[in-house]
Symmetry: C2
Subunit: 637 residues, 2 copies
């Protein structure tokens, strides 16, 4: 089985470019596809708040619920602003697109850098949180969490390389099973907590906590801000629908907007429910078991429902990671198309997916998982910043767009670079909403950055400008290449002349070098065989064999160079460069490289790769053309 067969087996038959594989989603499936990321945040968002408050002891945990409600309010605000985006960018209005259309290239690159960072973290955080759901249920697997996480990333990568795209049904089952399971837990929890229907009360937490410490003034506010910042991880993934409007059945924008509302309502009910019960049952964050797992175990007693919730928590988190696999390759292909990232990121693979982007994402997120040892709570300080920044930029862009719309008269239309806008009513109100959204998310971005700065946010704060700088550098490079290759103003005089000289480096006269010499004589009158002599025996042998084939060697000049070191490439290249620059300056010098190629590529390891090394060294010199004359050898190994 060859490598190519293996690839076919793993990835499947290639799809033709003309095949349209995009299937539109109905609202039920679309909700499942897009909601897996924001809904899955429920697996850790409450815990992220509590793990900050815990340092003050048990009393401070009571602030969890108010902070959770603040986060929920923020989500609702962001969703209302995003509905505007969806309605105005029916072809997909990611932050990059909206910013490019309304704010220019710098803002769009800033948004793109922020989003790419967050998409990578979506994979690392979601997979790690999914693994925590597994290790919470089966504590003996805790030591293998990094291996499990990498295995999950490999699996998701494989599925995505096969091109099984946002297949609604696959997503629908775990998403609704998770939502249903957690809702049942919340309902049972509330029933038991309030003693409705005379239900058995839940025993209070047995955990002994240090007495509440109190902090005064600023320090206390700071702690609350940090806890709030933790909860903001619940906002990640909300923007996904705005990117994928075209995945909905017509009327796309309307269906997408409705789905977004339902998604927000669903995610926030779970979030508030979990937060309420976690605080009122006095749960305490614990390294080995997540809050959601504790909550479910306490409420259900650890039976079937418990394993149901844990199982689908793991599954929905792995699916949430999958949204990173949708978003990162797509955004990086946009950037690549605009020459801000390597162009091969826009190449589609055999299955029409952006294979290179998928592989890059898998690599980087795996590295993060290994560095952080699959501890998603430790990664959270890096997370959500990017989303907040891109929210803010995107809402600012919408604010500008609304401003333009406000100038339209009834019946007037106009075009921006990617969308068409019409007159509409109540624009000032909508613009106000976008302004509030932009300001609030920017404030939250600042809060996230400052409160989590030391814990890791500085990495992202450093990375985003570095990425923007890199985008510009790449763009400049492509510009320079395009200019250098451009034929504008080219005349026949610009084309470099070819010198009538051919140099063949040889170490011996054998069938391989004889073939190369014959080829060289065909294209030039001035053929020189170049040999580096490292021992007297070698010189004797070469000159003996040289004289044996006068019909071949007669017209060829034999250049021998004695050399007392082993790195024979150096004198070879020195001679070639001298001919190229001194004898025939500003002309092309041709080098014929005889290379024998064993039948089995594995046996290449048995030979010095002199031809390969010579070629790669010569590549750095200008005006040198290299001709490979291969000589194939049959051999058993």
């Amino acid at each position: 089985m060859t490598l190519s067969d293996l690839k076919r087996f793993l990835i499947g038959e290639p799809f033709p470019t003309s095949r349209e594989i995009h299937e539109r989603l109905d609202k039920v499936r679309a909700l499942a596809v897009f909601a897996s990321d924001p809904i899955s945040s429920n697996a850790y968002a409450t815990e992220a708040i509590m793990s900050v408050l815990i340092v003050l002891g048990s009393g401070a945990l009571s602030m969890t619920l108010p902070l959770g409600l603040a986060v929920a309010a923020l989500v609702l605000l962001v969703i209302s602003s995003y509905i505007q985006t969806i309605l105005h960018y029916p072809d997909g209005g990611g932050a990059y697109t909206v910013a490019k259309d309304n704010l220019g290239v710098h803002a769009s690159l800033l948004a793109a850098a922020a989003l790419l960072t967050d998409y990578i973290l979506t994979v690392s955080v979601s997979v790690s949180a999914g693994v925590r759901a597994v290790t919470s249920a089966f504590p003996s697997t805790y030591d293998h969490r990094v291996t499990i996480a990498i295995g999950a990333i490999l699996f998701i990568t494989w599925i995505n390389l096969r091109g099984v795209r946002e297949s609604g049904t696959i997503f629908a089952i775990p998403t609704y099973a998770f939502v249903g399971g957690v809702l049942v837990v919340i309902v049972i929890g509330l029933v038991r907590y309030f003693g409705i229907f005379g239900a058995a009360p839940i025993e209070p937490s047995a955990e002994q906590l240090p007495a509440t410490t109190s902090l005064a003034g600023f320090a206390y506010i700071w702690l609350l801000l940090r806890a709030f910042a933790g909860g903001c991880t619940a906002l990640t993934g909300i923007e996904a629908i705005s990117n994928g409007v075209q995945a909905f059945k017509p009327p796309e924008s309307k269906n997408a907007a409705i789905t977004m509302v339902v998604m927000g309502a669903m995610a926030m009910s779970l979030f508030v429910g979990i937060t309420f019960l976690a605080t009122h049952l006095e749960l305490v964050p614990h390294e080995f078991e997540s809050i959601l797992s504790q909550l479910t175990r306490r409420v259900t007693g650890g039976g079937f429902l418990y394993y149901w919730v844990q199982f689908f928590t793991a599954l929905i988190l792995f699916l949430a990671a999958n949204t990173g696999y949708q978003d990162f390759p797509r955004l990086s292909s946009f950037l690549a198309k605009d020459n801000f990232l390597p162009r091969w990121l826009q190449n589609r693979g055999d299955r029409l997916v952006f294979s290179a982007g998928i592989v890059v994402l898998a690599l980087i997120s795996s590295i993060i998982v290994i560095v952080f040892q699959a501890d998603e709570i430790a990664m959270l300080p890096l997370y959500a910043l990017g989303v907040m920044l891109s929210f803010s930029i995107s809402q600012t862009g919408m604010f500008r767009l609304m401003g333009k719309i406000a100038h339209l008269k009834p019946g007037e239309t106009m075009h921006t670079s990617v969308t068409e806008i019409y007159y509409e009513k109540n624009v000032k109100w909508k613009q106000g909403l976008n302004a509030v959204g932009a300001v609030v998310t920017f404030v939250v971005f600042i809060i996230l950055t400052t409160t989590k700065f030391i814990e890791g946010a500085w990495i992202v704060a450093l990375l985003i400008p570095v990425l923007v700088f890199t985008f510009h550098a790449i763009h400049r490079h492509y510009d320079q290449v395009a200019n250098a290759l451009s034929t504008s103003g080219m005349t026949m005089e610009n084309i470099t002349d070819v010198a009538d000289v051919v140099i063949i480096p040889i170490a011996d006269v054998h069938r391989g070098t004889v073939l190369a010499m014959e080829y060289a004589k065909r294209i030039s009158k001035d053929v020189r065989a170049l040999t580096i002599i490292t021992s007297p025996e070698m010189e004797e042998r070469l000159s003996r064999r040289w004289s044996r084939f006068p019909e071949i060697t007669n017209d060829i000049q034999l250049v021998t160079i004695e050399y007392d070191y082993r790195d024979i490439l150096k004198p070879l290249i020195d001679y070639i460069v001298k001919v190229n620059t001194v004898e025939f300056p500003d002309m092309i010098t041709t080098i014929v490289v005889p290379e024998f190629i064993p039948e089995h590529s594995a046996s290449r390891i048995l030979h010095n790769q002199t031809a390969d090394r010579l070629r790669s060294r010569l590549k750095q010199y200008k005006d040198i053309v290299i001709i490979d004359v291969p000589f194939h050898i049959d051999s058993q190994i």
Copy 2:
């Protein structure tokens, strides 16, 4: 700083081939150089015996001393036989040489395979044991033992790549410091143990052991054999002097023989002394502290002398690893010269050392250290087998040589393939000694293999025949290559004709492809530009640009192939192969590959490596010559 500068900085200036860097050693330094390996075995050999006996409880440990004495007797026997080898092979008589000279190629390859295995293990075992000396003294470093071991291997590799060869003085200090330190410990230990001079007695071991279990008959003998096999690790490294006779000052053979005797006496005094004290102080093997460390700590009370011994134990073990770096590259270069290993193993690097062999050794031994987690006791079952087998083969070879000498009359001389032999007296006695040596070491080899088979010896028992098979396969490959390249019987008709066709794959008309087309037109009348069309826009753009330069494109046929997939290499290659096999069968087809090369090699990552991938795919087809026409592009990154 370029890579080349970095290499210069790390490795040093290259030495010319003609520079003779070999310095002869006096006996004091030679002893230090060659004895580091066998003397360093004292760090683990006693422990290897005890860790087998311990399973029977405290009583069985008393068998340690008798077994140790048996090992010492074996060492003396091997040394006496080896002195014969040294005297008859003054140019160096390693097992490979002696076997090749007297027993033929198969026996020599068997010996070589056994030795290569053992040289690799010398590095892994010695470095791991050296790290154990460090972690015994500083238990907090235990968790980092693999990292420390890999660091030590890297350091030794670096030193060897620099070509600092068996520099006597560097070796002398730690070797004599270790021998001196351990001797002092043994003397103090004996003085305190026997209460001589009224010395304070040593407290008995506080360790509680299970009561002695007893084993009956065969099971007991089996255990003793296993323990004896463990002690045989003390024999490793003894053969080093026979390889390196030429490193001695004249008279080489005599000096080498004397040194061998002193070395044996020294190593065995330490071994017997340590074994005596370890058993009489009732020490017990322990994972976290070596027997030698326990012994020294108990005898000296853990003061300066303790750290002295631990420090020089670590050092001498790292030096013992260094002997692997002398032996492995040298033996593999012999094999490479005889075409049994890849030929590049005989290439000397900048500093005249066998760099490739050094790097291969470092890689394999590092892998073993990682797999065994730097636990040298776990590696020992793999160790010493190879040495025993090569001892036995080499002594058998000497037996044959002695048989030839026995036929000489006084004054007669004769030549074997590598040595000259003279008449001598008492040959029958000496031959008998070799026979005993051959038989005893073979029996020990069988004991080692069977007793340690399950614990890991099977790996070596499997590896050695696999290596021998590989040697033969490599030899066959080189024979086939030599036959294929041979010019014997070659006539001018044998040389493949060149078809007058040149194919240039292009995706666009730009300065790079224009240059390539001009070059192609220079060497052929039938030039075809080959384009794979993947979209209508691409076709339109290409045909527009194609018509803009009629003075270039007029004489060129434009071949376009429409293709509905993304892997454009496939249709390119299909077309090329069709031309090569159908249009011009049995002739050479020329492909001109335009390639643009960015100034900075780092920016290659920004471009599809289509040219490189095309070249490597085309290499597998016969009769295709590839011409690289580079177009250099200045760019900032």
